[in-house]
């Protein structure tokens, strides 16, 4: 079962196999969390949205059909819940109850992904300062650019899948990605200038 596709696991779960559901959750938990936490920018709220995403998967299991890729379906649910959460505004639970994102031992090596993201920066040269700077720059992207950047660079989704998830044409997705990368590149270069200017 470990080698089964997401889609066949989803069908197994629909037919009553809870172990298949657990495999799906294990496979996607981290990546979906990483997407959500960068969208809602709050660890406690991200956990709630992640939980709600999986609960929606359970609720809609009977209606699941193989028309869409499982990941496309999953990220569409997660993204819609993120949008709702953002609209509702301030999170109901005190964020201080949970560890901040930066202390999260499971947080992905984001900096590695950014290094690949086209800035052409020498991996060795990227230190912790740079990572923080980058996190900040990502957080400052406009929502519609940020979500696409994250889905592409952190979650490794294809542009056509992202287009389905966010509900706009693939060309729009690609151009938003270009804008996002430009802004991040600027942020990095600014930092590099500062670093070089420093004694």
């Amino acid at each position: 079962m470990r080698d089964d596709s997401d889609e066949s696991l989803m069908f197994r779960y629909r037919d009553g196999d809870v172990r298949a559901f657990e495999l799906l959750v294990t496979r996607h938990r981290k990546a979906v969390y990483n997407f959500i936490v960068r969208f809602v920018r709050d660890a406690a709220q991200a956990e709630d949205v992640l939980q709600e995403t999986f609960l929606r998967v359970i609720k809609s299991a009977d209606a699941y059909e193989k028309q869409a890729k499982f990941t496309t379906w999953l990220y569409t649910i997660a993204r819609n819940l993120c949008v709702d959460a953002a609209r509702r505004g301030k999170h109901r639970r005190a964020a201080s109850l949970d560890a901040p994102v930066n202390n999260d031992p499971e947080a992905p090596a984001l900096i590695e992904r950014i290094a690949d993201a086209g800035a052409g920066v020498d991996r060795q040269a990227i230190g912790r300062q740079m990572a923080l700077r980058m996190q900040e720059a990502i957080a400052q992207l406009p929502d519609e650019q940020r979500e696409i950047f994250i889905l592409r660079e952190v979650n490794d989704l294809q542009f056509n899948e992202i287009a389905d998830i966010v509900g706009c044409p693939e060309n729009t997705v690609k151009s938003r990605m270009r804008y996002a990368l430009e802004k991040l590149r600027e942020a990095l270069e600014e930092y590099r200038d500062l670093a070089q200017a420093a004694p």
Partner: protein, 274 residues
């Protein structure tokens, strides 16, 4: 502190004599509970209304009235709802008295005043600050192993803390959380997202089993807890780990340990729980 089985037992003991009666008058002590008791709001919502049913969600009691309004009660640390005759002496710490038709009173007694007593319209109830943050009731018919897996995977904390978090599962408190972990054979400090499907299924069964046993025994009475007829529960006699520090485990014989987690005592068996 009353947990799900105690609140369920109170709900069951309220139904026979409460349903069908009208609220004739309401008196309050004037002292604040966790939030102030708003007498005018209670009167507006409940005076003259007939009680039609008693429900429970998590650790909350909900009394439904003919007007569509609902009385929400949380017993806090030490709250009791008790039936009494109008002439009977009032217990100390009686903070609200509902005079009912047919010569009966329902009294809310709460020495430590951590409870909640509040009226809502049916429409407001779901969005109330009390219920809107509540997670799934573990005895709800649609609660499933898959849901528990989803919840465990989404939280990143220790199992014990997870079980006490009312925004995830609503109804477990310290006693039943300790007992459920023992029955499932899971250590209280295990990380939630590392609990696999088999262990999650055991935990699911254990949660329901300890809660249902608690209800069958009409609650756990250590000091305060009694139902609306003033009767104690007997579940305290069946606990496997809670309150048994240093005593031998009934399964493996090793000594039950107590640790402090999140400012609360956790009792567990080092032999049976991994």
């Amino acid at each position: 502190m009353p947990e799900l089985p105690e609140v369920e037992s109170v709900a069951r003991s309220l139904r026979p004599r409460l349903v069908g009666r009208r609220v004739v008058a309401i008196e309050v002590s004037g002292l604040s509970l966790r939030r102030p008791i708003e007498r005018e709001r209670l009167e507006r919502a409940l005076a003259g209304a007939k009680a039609e049913g008693v429900r429970r969600v998590g650790k909350y009691l909900l009394i439904d009235f003919s007007t569509g309004n609902v009385l929400l009660v949380h017993l806090g640390m030490s709250g009791r709802l008790l039936f009494a005759r109008p002439g009977e002496a009032r217990a100390p710490h009686t903070h609200a008295v509902f005079r009912l038709s047919g010569g009966l009173e329902l009294r809310y007694v709460d020495p430590r005043r951590f409870g909640v007593l509040r009226a809502y319209s049916a429409g407001e109830l779901e969005r109330s600050p009390e219920l809107s943050v509540l997670g799934i009731d573990p005895l709800a018919p649609d609660f499933s192993v898959a849901q528990l897996i989803a919840m465990l995977a989404s939280a990143r904390r220790d199992l014990k803390g997870f079980l006490l978090d009312q925004s995830r599962l609503a109804g477990l408190g310290n006693i039943y959380a300790c007992e459920a972990l023992f029955l499932a054979g899971l250590g209280p400090r295990r990380r939630t997202h590392r609990v696999g499907a088999a262990a999650a299924a055991r935990l699911f069964g254990a949660i329901r089993e300890v809660l249902e046993a608690g209800i069958r025994n009409r609650g756990t009475s250590f000091s305060d807890y009694v139902d609306a007829e003033g009767d104690q529960g007997s579940n305290q006699n069946t606990l496997a780990v809670y309150g048994r520090e240093g005593e031998p485990c009934r399964v493996c014989g090793r000594k039950i340990r107590r640790v402090v987690q999140g400012a609360r005592s956790t009792f567990y068996c080092p032999g049976c729980q991994k």
